[in-house]
């Protein structure tokens, strides 16, 4: 009897140890979390928005300078190889399809999230390409960070690729790619996601242009 009880006890202990080992093992072999934490700041809640002052090729420019116009605000950078040209191209195409009267009430603003490389001159040169009366804005790292925070924009330099040198400055920037629609009184109305078609954007413009 005694020996049998002992065996049961030993068995229980053995099972316990095995279970512990198993838990420890599965914990240790869990995929390592080397990747950066997900950007928490992208929330589904509407960001506060609000006024800001940045620099265009023509000097200081504030959101309030565009009072009376519907503002389409986009954040990106000129070295952006795909996402920004896609979104800016669609915005520009939507704008160019408006009639003259509508155009006079709409302003596209492009704010860089890469102020280290995007000077006001470079932003002007880049935005001119889209032929949509777009204004390019840059600022100090702090100024950009503060505007981004107001609008819930998240951005960070991507891990530097192996072929990057200081000479070619070959780095990309991960960034959220929403377009913010700000009404004529400067109030942020909505944000539209990446890769909306020109027709969809045009629809949004019309919605918010109608009083």
């Amino acid at each position: 009897m005694n020996t049998s009880q002992k065996t049961v006890k030993l068995g229980a202990i053995a099972i316990g140890i095995l279970l512990l080992l198993f838990l420890l093992f599965s914990f240790l072999t869990e995929p390592s979390t080397n990747s950066p934490p997900p950007p928490k700041a992208i929330s589904n809640e509407k960001p506060a928005g609000g006024n800001f002052t940045l620099t265009s090729v023509n000097g200081k420019q504030s959101l309030t300078d565009f009072k009376g116009k519907l503002v389409l605000l986009y954040f990106g950078y000129t070295y952006c190889p795909d996402i920004c040209p896609t979104d800016l191209g669609n915005l520009a195409m939507a704008y160019r399809r408006l009639n003259e009267q509508e155009k006079s009430q709409v302003q596209i603003l492009f704010v860089t999230v890469d102020p280290a490389r995007d000077t006001a001159t470079r932003m002007a040169e880049y935005t001119r390409y889209f032929d949509a009366n777009m204004v390019g804005l840059t600022g100090s790292e702090q100024e950009i960070a503060s505007v981004a925070k107001q609008y819930g924009v998240v951005y960070m330099k991507a891990p530097t690729p192996s072929n990057a040198t200081t000479e070619n400055k070959n780095y990309t920037v991960d960034h959220s790619a929403f377009t913010y629609i700000i009404d004529k009184t400067g109030v942020l109305q909505t944000q539209i996601p990446h890769a909306m078609s020109p027709a969809q954007i045009q629809q949004q413009i019309k919605t918010y242009l109608t009083p």
Binding site: I42, P81, T86, P161
Partner: protein, 164 residues
Amino acid sequence: MKRTLHNAIFTLTLGAMSTLSATHALANQADAIQVSDPYVREMPAGAFATASFMTLSNQSNQAIKLVKANSDVAKITELHTHTNDNGMMRMRQVPFFEVPANGQAELKPGGNHIMLISPTKTLKAGETATITLTFEDGSHKQIQAPVKSVMKMGGMDHSNHQHH
């Protein structure tokens, strides 16, 4: 002894022959891939990189990996992908694009693309870029990709606005 040698030679020859015929049956991977609608996106002045898009169709019964691309218009050519991480667009270099057996891989804006970095000149609509694709088996395919303006793509409905 002689018999064994004979057998060995026979086996080797057979082996070599079957290898050859197998290679022949598969042809090379480049031949099994058909490329449609390739284009390079026109760049705004001073842009540092642009992208090339196309559809790759695999005519074979085996998945084929595109492992490399080169172009005469860029110093560096890389394969890249985008992930949309809850609104955060992350672009990363990838080692290959896989074209499924008898299937297609679409390279398109916002997704997989061939990135042309440090272009040798500003690419304008109407020009053509030569892109060489290299597959896993080392075979190549050269394609001509016209440069297209982002402003002229998808914008077919201008006619709606002529009456204002």
